[in-house]
């Protein structure tokens, strides 16, 4: 029972993790910041190329309102893992294993997500936590400190942020205790020992973050060591980093001091340059810590900006395409389409966590172009066939008028193509689904229609076109066109020789088109 429930939930999750435009799992999910609706990067950018609004709520937005939603991507990964695990475990082992695996995954997701809030945790929160623990410690006396440090002993299941703030918290009372042992550096710890002073100094965020940074490596690495050892190490660390700034702080009233413009501390004038370097470097480090999101692409890259296609001449457009490295053949419309497609693809690529290089993208685009050209030749012909029955009423009238003639022609045709012809006729009439299913399975698996598949399907269409009563009725010349021998050649060995067949198909299409076009004038 539980397994079915799990399956149900996974199915629900799959529905949630489906892009509403392509109806497939999200690929680089992007969120519109105004309405927080999510789409695949490629899908929504294509949509914006036509209409600049949210497809779901219709809010006026543009591509500048898009931001990657990495959580969805990560969830996608885990969902895939989960569903594959489920499939494996439901086959090989029992339900218990399955549930266990699921729990494991839940754990990994937790750990995967925790660092994020930890690093981006608001300084004010840290401050609150610090002052809280500090006020307790300042109230308590020395003998109680042990208890507190025990209470505050880090729980290793906690996230990094909590961990650090706690370790910071319990380090404070101990610095008071060990004042004697760390007499050399204790002056700098004075502000930390009392809560009031501490909050004052902590007004600048750098202080906290630095202390956090310093606390992290020591406490985290030595997590098996007893708290005392950790804490005795902590001040040492502080002392070493601050040594040059605070050296002889106690005995140097006479030494000249200057306020650091970055952190505001009073520093010996002699050492101010060194200190400022240190301060600035620290700030950079901090900001890089805070910035969790990867750097976005440069929007003003001259190669890949939008173009005012209408303002550009054909040559200008060709030049722009060549600059990128795209083929510059074709008319202006084709060039415009190619550039737009490249732009969309490029932007979608940049949204990915690890964008591929432009050269790979261009190669892909060129390949796709070729494939499209090939399939366009097919689809445009496929589209002509519904087109020819556009004038339903006219066609029916025409059919009625010349019914006898067509009947005669059809009979003639049947006689001239003896066996396989009839089989084909049956195929057309009763099982229109079969070739489609075949197509579906191929497509879903590979995403790309294999060349041979395409040829095969065109062949089918081609043959059906000939046999379709409506068309055959409209174009009697059709039956005269291909000779029976040629026909049988193609039918008997399908998929034998792709290229030859294409040319044959094309030839026959040219046969086909003529009567189709002239038909309009006939009617």
């Amino acid at each position: 029972m539980e397994a079915t429930q799990v399956k149900q939930h996974i199915k629900l999750m799959k529905e949630i993790l489906t892009c509403p435009i392509c109806k497939e799992p999200y690929k680089t999910a992007m969120m519109i910041d105004l309405c927080s609706h999510n789409f695949c990067s490629l899908c929504i950018r294509r949509y914006f190329n036509i209409k600049q609004e949210c497809p779901i709520c219709g809010q006026d937005v543009s591509s500048s309102n898009l931001a990657p939603n990495r959580i969805v991507d990560t969830m996608m990964q885990h969902h895939n893992q989960l569903s594959s695990l489920l499939q494996i475990s439901s086959k090989s082992t029992g339900e218990n294993k399955l549930l266990h695996d699921e729990a494991d995954i839940m754990l990994t997701t937790d750990t995967a997500f925790n660092p994020k809030p930890a690093n981006s945790m608001q300084p004010s929160v840290v401050l609150n936590r610090l002052t809280e623990t500090d006020s307790i410690s300042s109230k308590t006396k020395q003998d109680e400190n042990d208890d507190i440090s025990l209470q505050n002993t880090p729980d290793f299941s906690l996230g990094i942020a909590e961990f650090c703030t706690q370790s910071q918290g319990f380090s404070l009372p101990l610095t008071v205790d060990d004042k004697d042992t760390f007499s050399g550096s204790c002056d700098m710890f004075v502000p930390y020992t009392t809560s009031e002073d501490f909050t004052k100094t902590c007004d600048s965020n750098h202080e906290i973050e630095e202390s956090l940074m310093l606390a992290q490596p020591v406490v985290l690495v030595k997590d098996e060591v007893s708290p005392v050892v950790k804490l005795s190490r902590l001040p040492e660390n502080f002392a070493s980093t601050r040594a040059n700034e605070n050296q002889g702080d106690s005995d140097m009233e006479s030494v000249e001091k200057t306020g650091c413009p970055v952190c505001g501390l009073n520093v010996e004038t002699e050492n101010i340059n060194h200190h400022i370097d240190h301060c600035l470097a620290r700030e950079e480090r901090n900001s890089s810590l805070r910035q969790n999101t990867p750097k976005r692409y440069k929007r003003n890259n001259p190669q890949v900006t939008k173009l005012a296609y209408n303002m550009l001449s054909l040559r200008g457009l060709q030049r722009k395409l060549r600059e990128i490295g795209l083929p510059a053949d074709g008319d202006k419309l084709e060039l415009k389409r190619r550039h737009q497609e490249f732009l969309i693809k490029y932007q979608a690529e940049q949204d990915k966590l690890q964008p591929r290089r432009i050269s790979i993208l261009i190669e892909e685009l060129i390949q796709e172009d070729e494939r499209r050209r090939a399939s366009e030749a097919v689809t445009s012909r496929q589209l002509e066939y519904p087109c020819s029955i556009q004038n339903e009423a006219d066609r029916r009238e025409h059919l009625k008028k010349h019914e006898k003639q067509y009947q005669m022609l059809e009979d003639l045709a049947r006689k001239s193509f003896p066996h396989h012809q009839d089989v084909n006729m049956d195929n057309v009439e009763d099982s229109g689904e079969e070739p489609l299913k075949e197509l579906t399975s191929h497509d879903c698996g590979e995403g790309i229609v294999p060349e041979t598949q395409l040829i095969h399907s065109t062949l089918d269409v081609e043959i059906k076109l000939q046999n379709l009563p409506s068309l055959s009725a409209l174009s009697p010349e059709l039956y005269v066109g291909p000779s029976p021998s040629e026909h049988s050649l193609i039918d008997n060995n399908p998929l034998a020789n792709g290229n030859e067949k294409v040319s044959q198909v094309n030839q026959r299409h040219s046969h086909l088109e003529k009567p189709c076009c002239s038909n309009d004038t006939v009617v």
Partner: protein
Amino acid sequence: MSSQNVNPATVVVNSANSRKAKDTTATKKDSVSVKKRLQQELMGLMMSAEKGVSAFPEGDNLFHWVGTIEGPKDTVYEGLKYRLTLEFSSAYPYEPPTVRFHTPCFHPNVDEHGNICLDILKEKWSALYEVRTILLSIQSLLGEPNNESPLNVQAADMWSSQAVYKKHLLNHYEKHAKSTL
């Protein structure tokens, strides 16, 4: 920039008359992804088995579908069946398909050639709509016509008196529709 502000609806409206012209002008996306999406929709339709609505590609051309809708309950169209054709361009789902009634339909928003006046098929189109939602919208349009902008003025005028409308409708259905189904 100006090129991006083209209203796709105008392209679609014009396309009714000159589909060949559209084939060359419409922005062409790779047909592989279109096919994929259409297959997804087909799967969804088969699985869900929506009541009173069905659709299937005609032959093995995935870009040309034939749909059937039944008249909604408690309306004058109850019990009537209509067949429609849906044609998808290679820019689907960014552009709406061309949908028209194959069965002659007497309705304020359907003209004599089967063209349908429905906002979501034109200016209100969104990539989220799919075959299922289109057919459901058309089904509900049957029962709730928009008489403000009629294509068939006679039907719009007649709508107010339902009894007369129903009589005329059944007459019309017997005469024209039965033969095509």
